[in-house]
Subunit: 141 residues, 2 copies
DNA sequence: GGTCTTTTTGCCATTTTATTGCATTTTTAC
DNA sequence: GTAAAAATGCAATAAAATGGCAAAAAGACC
């Protein structure tokens, strides 16, 4: 955990430093698991200070994603999930088909398969589908 | 392409053989790229015969997925995407951040990272994010 | 500090995608 | 063919995301 100077990161990305952007970025950076926009809102609501509107959360996330401070994960659920981009190592994500939980897993970077001509890869994502411990216990056997 | 006896596959899965299930499964099996429920509906609409209701498509897909004949992909787009489960080799998926296109790529099965205690993996998915040839050409430089 | 310009925000309306309830129809077992 | 069980169509509803626009806030300059 190096310097989490969120206002600086936002300014360096060429945007205005607003309460909503800082709060959303801090929220995502402070969390273990990737969050949906609504989950971000819930958490901000439990914090001190004014709560941004839901639409503002969407727009803050959109801006942060467009400027590389946050990234959207590929998911099977209905809601999009985002995580702060850290300069830590590559990792994978586990998605439980029972409860929909998504969590980060340490994992080596997977190999990049050859792409069709003209295609360019920007990111490789590894998703493990399965059942979490709780959901597995819940499934009668 | 071995025997695509869709009614049989559905019956073997323990379900009733209905026109909608057969049509949806055939549609997904006949396609190169994973489709959204609406795309399935569009394609069925262009085929001969009665067109199932949108809700029926959803329910057919849901049933097929629950019984392993179809699988939902992890995506960044808003709509869910599905593909028929073939017994062919593993493959990855490319997702264009420009147009949202999702296509299958031949790729070796990625290594399974270690999971937390009690977690069980059922499937590993590799997603390549980037730009397709068309979208790359479209981006001014 | 104050003033100006540009960007962002809040609120409301709307869109897109998916789900639920229920009467009717279809499938299957006998 | 008949009856039981399951699937379907249709309308209503829910969930997630987006668009328009006036008000508010941020940054640049003084
Ligand atoms: Mn992660
Ligand atoms: Mn595929
Ligand atoms: Zn779970
Ligand atoms: Zn594209």
């Amino acid at each position: 955990m190096n310097d989490p100077d969120f206002p600086r990161r936002i300014r360096d990305a060429g945007g205005r430093v607003t309460a909503a952007r800082v709060a959303v970025l801090r929220c995502l950076a402070a969390t273990e698991e990737p969050l949906t926009p609504d989950e971000v809102l819930e958490r901000l609501a439990q914090t001190a200070g004014p709560v941004p509107d839901r639409v503002t959360i969407y727009r803050a996330i959109e801006w942060l994603a467009a400027h590389g401070l946050v990234r959207q994960l590929a998911t099977v659920g209905r809601a999009a999930r985002y995580e702060a981009v850290e300069d830590r190592e590559t990792h994978a994500h586990f998605q439980c088909r029972g409860c929909g939980q998504t969590r980060c897993l340490p994992a080596p970077p997977p190999p990049l398969p050859p792409l069709p001509i003209g295609y360019v890869a920007e990111r490789v994502e590894l998703v493990i589908h399965g059942l979490c411990a709780a959901c597995r216990a819940g499934e009668r056997r």
